[in-house]
């Protein structure tokens, strides 16, 4: 096997293949980053609305709960197909990349909403009571009291989700998005050995996710250190 890899390597790491791989890596990165950022923002919003009281919000809370519970349970691949065919039915002419991006955002939002919800719930209810008795509004309570304490609980599962998520974007290849896994398949089909191709793909996934994991660890440390 080694001889074959050594023999193939110069051809494999040729200019056009490298460009092809880097572009695919860019797509994987864009899908992951898009999902993480949008998921974090919207997931936070969903959790905050679901935690709010106020009768007029009830229909919205109900709808959000339904969506969160649904998208956490539907397999990623099925979500991709749903969005793909959903857009077709609506006659919306979106690129397959957009379809994949919408799907990853939906999934990330659902999962992160649930992580944030459990994080907010982890703060002792007496902190809510006290803030309320001191006339804090709901959003002031969240901003000054609850979220600063919930971060420590929210961050580790969020980052572990992000890292799972980078790998899950590989499923977008199933609808034809040329991301890392798809690129690997293409190169493999062109005759390069699986070990060489997917070994390289593995390395590129690692390059994407390792800094994220380090960043998460750094953030956790920093937040934990504020109380020493």
């Amino acid at each position: 096997m080694w001889e074959r890899i050594v023999e193939e390597a110069p051809r494999f790491f040729g200019y056009y293949n490298l460009i092809f791989l880097l572009k695919a890596m860019g797509v994987t990165f864009a899908l992951s980053a898009g999902g993480c950022v949008v998921g974090l923002v919207l997931g936070f919003g969903v959790a905050v609305v679901r935690r709010a009281d106020g009768a007029w919000l009830a229909p919205l809370r109900w709808l959000l709960t339904l969506l969160v519970e649904a998208f956490r349970r539907i397999p990623f691949l099925v979500t991709l197909m749903l969005v793909f065919f959903g857009f077709q039915v609506l006659n919306l002419d979106l690129s397959i990349f957009s379809v994949a991006l919408v799907s990853v955002c939906l999934i990330a939002t659902a999962f992160i909403a649930e992580i944030v919800r459990s994080g907010l719930d982890s703060v002792h209810h007496n902190q809510w009571d006290t803030a309320m008795a001191m006339n804090f509004s709901y959003l002031q309570t969240l901003r000054y009291v609850i979220v600063p304490q919930a971060w420590k609980v929210i961050l580790p599962p969020v980052f572990s989700f992000f890292i799972l998520f980078i790998k899950d974007t590989a499923l977008a290849s199933q609808i034809g998005v040329v991301e890392l896994t798809y690129a690997g398949k293409v190169l493999n089909n062109r005759g390069f050995s699986a070990a060489l191709v997917f070994g390289s793909i593995l390395l590129l996934y690692f390059i994407l996710s390792y800094p994220l994991a380090r960043f998460g660890a750094w953030l956790e440390q920093r937040l934990a250190a504020t109380r020493d």
């Binding site: 007496n126 309320m132 008795a133 006339n135 804090f136 002031q140 109380r227």
Partner: protein
């Protein structure tokens, strides 16, 4: 006119009634203490007054204004005039002692930061914590945390302070430092509504004492009357039990 009037107040946790037809009034500058067995509704009464548990029935007047506990604006107004200190201190864990005291005056009452901080330092000095301004709650003893909580409530400039078993969670040697802070407030003429199991303290500091059992005020009177000449059998039983040892 009394500062606070409570009439026919009832409340329940789910289907379980915890307050039934409670009536009581506090004059300005009075110190009224609630005593009674666990589960008699003392703490619940304070929670209802500050709007953490909506009442089922009854009315509360504050300076002649009828409070509406279902109405946000009314709740906000009453919380501008009443503050509560909890049994478990409930300091905001993510803030230093000083931040705990200043956050609501600055962010909620929108008062100028420099003025609020100066006042907070003075309040923390008053409860003997000048050297703990930048300590986080988990770096403070229970007694110190409770004194921060008292300073925090006072920083809101309340007219009435509700004290919910503020020494119950403290080690015995820490109780007095907190009681001293409260004595100081009583001497300054702040209206205090106290739930306490410290009978010696209650007797010393209160203008009147209410004995509660099963969600009702059973007997109300001056400390000497309640402790030495209780009229009701249940009061006599309770006083007898706690004063025996």
């Amino acid at each position: 006119m009394p500062q606070l009037v409570i009439e026919g107040l009832s409340a329940s946790y789910g289907p379980i009634p915890v307050l039934e037809d409670v009536g009581l009034s506090l004059e300005r500058g009075e110190v009224v203490s609630l005593i009674g067995p666990s589960g008699s509704g003392k703490s619940t009464l304070l929670r209802v007054l500050i709007g953490l548990l909506p009442p089922k029935a009854g009315t509360v007047w504050l300076d002649g204004e009828r409070l509406d506990y279902r109405h946000g604006a009314s709740l906000r107004r009453l919380r501008e005039r009443m503050a509560i200190v909890f049994q478990q201190y409930n300091l905001f864990q993510n803030m230093t002692a000083l931040q705990n005291v200043t956050i609501a005056p600055i962010k909620v009452q929108k008062r100028p930061r420099t003025e609020v901080e100066a006042e907070a330092r003075a309040l923390l000095a008053k409860v003997g914590l000048s050297d703990k301004l930048n300590a986080y709650p988990d770096q403070l003893s229970g007694g110190q945390q409770q004194r921060v909580a008292i300073a925090r409530a006072l920083a809101l400039r309340p007219e009435i302070l509700l004290l919910d078993e503020v020494t119950s969670a403290l080690d015995p040697e820490l109780v007095n430092e907190v009681l001293d802070s409260i004595r100081l407030l009583a001497a300054e003429g702040m209206t205090l509504f106290i739930v306490s199991h410290e009978m010696g303290f209650v007797r010393e500091v209160s203008t009147r004492v209410a004995f509660m059992a099963d969600g009702r005020v059973v007997e109300l009177g001056e400390p000497a009357a309640i402790f030495d000449r209780p009229r009701e059998v249940r009061t006599r039983d309770f006083i007898g039990k706690i004063l025996r040892h």
